[in-house]
Symmetry: C2
Subunit: 293 residues, 2 copies
């Protein structure tokens, strides 16, 4: 389907999708924007289908994204080749990863240290959905709560991240004077990370045995979630490690003493597994230090 | 175009797009999923076009999203009505806002305190793009670096958020032994928030007078950005208020003593401005306390 002569155009396409514009792609590849545009137009004619949706940012069509992924896979093979030939002075390996926000905010960053050959490209998503990025082939590896292997990928258990449901003492006094009742939960504002976040719903089910429609603020940031709880606008489940100073100072109190443990797994594409072996080792080490086993 | 009898179906549609599934919408509206499905199907037949793309999550078609926005606007009018009639015990007002991640991580949370009638629905985006959400009518207000009014919206200057370009001392010693040269910048890994983030590029242009293709890690989280800098994997611009303890302890050092100030503005839809007046006052107050005037 592809000819070797298509590769300069494929490289231009991947750069446009990565950087979001023809100008930025031209800059990254040190060619003119019109060269980028001509190459992509020629490839679109060859393939008989549009590859880029011109807009701000420029986005790939389904075929365009698949072709860009092909270039990412070739990048993995080239990095493996350079490693095997002892020529590691080439361009650094771009490593697209999906990580849940709470992991990035707690135990994940040290795993990225001391791997100078890698340039990490992080996508944040809910722990229940981060593995979907791997399934779609958009990342090489993911930290996720999914406990079954994604087809074509390896699975490493990492341990569990511990959460506590908390709010300010004033919030508890105002909204839960008679404890964590179904009636009170249906009126007290909760905090949810985004539309995919089921942590609070699941906690309510485990506490009350019922599903309750929770009034909710949406705060799509782990640190913002803690900060929102501190302002007293709602209750929510936060990683325990981020709560210690606030619990000790009495700024936040647990709604229930029982923690919620969310087991996490490192999913890594088998194609990328050899070249990512040092990262997998670092992720497992960081998890061993910080997660509940 | 619409009949009053369409409103139950419109409400079902808005709930599906908000919650991402027919089940969750049914739960929120206390009806069965099949009632949700039937109402939306009837509305799709009436309108002669699909309104929902069935998937995980369920998403709106262009017409579907426009109809859901109409329901949000009606929500604003109903909240204003309840306020004017002194009946503020109705359901809380859902307030969709676009906020840049660095504001949420620094000065914004206190602005949300003490407004119990509002349920905040935050979307995070780059400060150069957060106003686009307002332009598309998907939020009622935005914190953005855009310094001109969005059509149909009011503009309030808030002051500037101050940034410093930083890295660990070891990173500086290794990558910038001869100072911040163009040659060194083209090789030293930088940190960028996401594909839209131009902060590092602009800083490099101001330092060197040139555009340089920067090797970059992508870390789409403000706190993750600071944590990534602390692990020594790259340099990047961070809000100065988050750096104080690390600068004092010598864990991070500035690449240049000159800070970068990014002016921010509160953009608020004129339709929503009356009902959001207490929020606008709180946002301006929080900004006065924390931003550079």
């Amino acid at each position: 389907m592809l000819n070797p002569s298509d590769y300069p155009a494929l490289s231009a396409l991947a750069a446009v999708l990565r950087h979001g514009s023809f100008d930025a792609a031209a800059h990254a590849l040190s060619v003119t924007p019109s060269a980028i545009s001509q190459r992509i137009k020629a490839l679109e004619e060859r393939m008989g289908t549009p590859l880029v949706l011109r807009g701000t940012p420029a986005q790939g069509t389904e075929t365009g994204r698949r072709l860009a992924r092909h270039m990412d896979e070739i990048g993995i093979l080239e990095a493996q080749l350079a490693h095997d030939l002892g020529q590691n002075d080439g361009p650094a390996l771009r490593v697209p990863l999906a990580v849940n926000a709470d992991s990035l905010a707690t135990w994940f960053p040290p795993a990225m240290a001391n791997l100078p050959e890698m340039l990490f490209q992080l996508t944040l998503d809910d722990q229940d959905h981060s593995a979907d990025w791997l399934k779609r082939g958009e990342v090489m590896a993911a930290v996720s709560a999914r406990d079954t292997a994604v087809p074509g990928c390896d699975l490493h258990p990492l341990g569990a991240l511990r959460y506590l449901a908390v709010a300010t003492p004033a919030f508890v006094a105002r909204h839960f004077p008679e404890g964590i009742t179904s009636e009170a939960l249906s009126k007290a504002p909760s905090l949810v990370f985004n539309g995919k976040d089921r942590l609070q719903d699941n906690w309510v089910s485990s506490q009350t045995g019922r599903r309750i429609a929770l009034p909710a603020h949406r705060i799509p940031s782990t640190q913002g979630f803690v900060d929102a709880a501190l302002t007293g606008i709602g209750w929510g489940l936060n990683p325990e490690v981020l709560l210690h100073p606030h619990l000790e100072a009495g700024r936040l109190v647990p709604l229930s003493p029982a923690p919620t443990d969310i087991a996490l797994y490192w999913h890594v594409s088998r194609l990328a597994a050899p070249i990512l072996a040092p990262l997998t080792a670092a992720v497992r080490q960081a998890a061993r230090t910080a997660l509940i086993s």
